[in-house]
Amino acid sequence: MSLEIHDISKAFGGFRALDGVRLTIETGSLFGIIGPNGAGKSTLFSVVSGFARADEGQIRLDGQSLDSLSPPARARAGMVRTFQVPREFRHLTVRENLMAAAPKQTGESLLGLFFRPGRVREEEGAIAERVNETIRFLKLSAVADQPSGKLSGGQKKLLELGRALMVEPRLILLDEPFAGVNPVLIGEIMERITELNTRGIGFVIIEHDLEALTRLVPQLAVMDRGKVLAQGAPQAVLDDALVREAYLGGVS
């Protein structure tokens, strides 16, 4: 069971953002991707989650081809992404943000809303229950009924994680979960991720913060200029000469 990224290429104008990227990631694992700015990490996420179309290559999740699927369909297939800059629904409260993310709601169809009000009410109760759980789990209780636009950067990252969880995915793609987050909260987020992973949810994490990432993931890949340079256990990867050249700016 894995996410297979097969020879993906993507160019913007003349610039090759992704150049034959090939990765296989176990669905239930914790996997990191590092690389300097412009290495193509976020572009890779966009292509994998369907927000950008690859010029070449295929993507499969647990054997199912995702290539013809729209972004929402890919999310429904069990793989949810977050964004580098948090995209909270800023006029909705934290609670509403989370409730909006719950899948398969009868009340999200106008027919269901007006013709099956009983069922809608029932579902809302169940969703509210799950949302409460998620809020407790993420320790967001204090801000649960605040408009999410007013949260701090770290809280927004947690909220995005929470929203992703509400979709009940097998795999979550986290785009720089620690960027701009204060160190205390970083520890918090890492704990949550580890705990979720033990429950069987896989994570692919893009991160700039090398140190934090090496503490968190047992496996990582290094990208530079649209290519995967190396892949493996953190220490082994960091020792790779190519990686040191590219990523650490040739400090030897």
Partner: protein, 294 residues
Amino acid sequence: MEAYFIAIGIIALIYVILSLGLTLQYGLTGLINFGHVGFFAIGAYTSALLALKGVPLVLSFAAAAALAGLAAWPLGLVSLRLRDDYFAIVTLGFSEVVRIVITSEGWLTNGVQGLPGIPRLYEGLGGSAAQLAVLVTVLAVTLVGTWIIRRIAGSPFGRLIEAIRDNEEAVQALGKDPARFKIQVLVVGAALAGIAGAFYAHYITYIVPDQFIPLVTFYVWMAIIMGGVGRVSGAIVGTAILMLFLEGSRFLRDIVPGVSEVDMASVRIGAVGLLLVLFIMYRPQGLMGDYTKR
């Protein structure tokens, strides 16, 4: 005196129905629909033409809502591929195309000659009783419309369209297709506009393409901006202010002599413009507050 107020009430309520649709589309979903008058026109002509052929008014109203809603469907598909501001211009263009088609297809719509003698509602009652009955009917429809919009706003559906307004890509990332919601929202808003159009046609009894110009759309926008975007109460209060303003200026001239009728028209449009600018600058949330402060 009261007949005049009933007349104002009917026209005002027709505008409320229009602004309810826009509240759903723009206030809640963030769709900048600048072509509202197009659906209004489709509703007006559908109901008028059917009624003139002898179709019972209940059916002609239903057809007006259905056809206007149906016309919104393709726009919903287009909306997914366009930036917000482009969508605004495209919808504006759509309403002009509707007007041009009505103008040109004279075999159906009688073109620029317009459709005279559209049957009135409750013709049998006669006189002021009929007027009152019309008012009550429009009021009832407005209340139902208000209830529907409120119900939508407070539902999982409403939550999701607000999420779309705040960030469409995030909604996609959560496995939900914004297209489906946007289309439904456009269709519901357009159907409401279609019903408003039907009321308009059967009240004025004569319709002609140049009644359906973009100015009507702008009036509705003014109403929701003055009232407070995204709030049902805002739509109602904003429309009330707009009517008070447009009609009140008649009396202003009765009281304050010396302003010529020509200048009055300029003064009226100038004041509308000034009011709009002032609202946008100093009270962007409108009188009733906007969605950020519910």
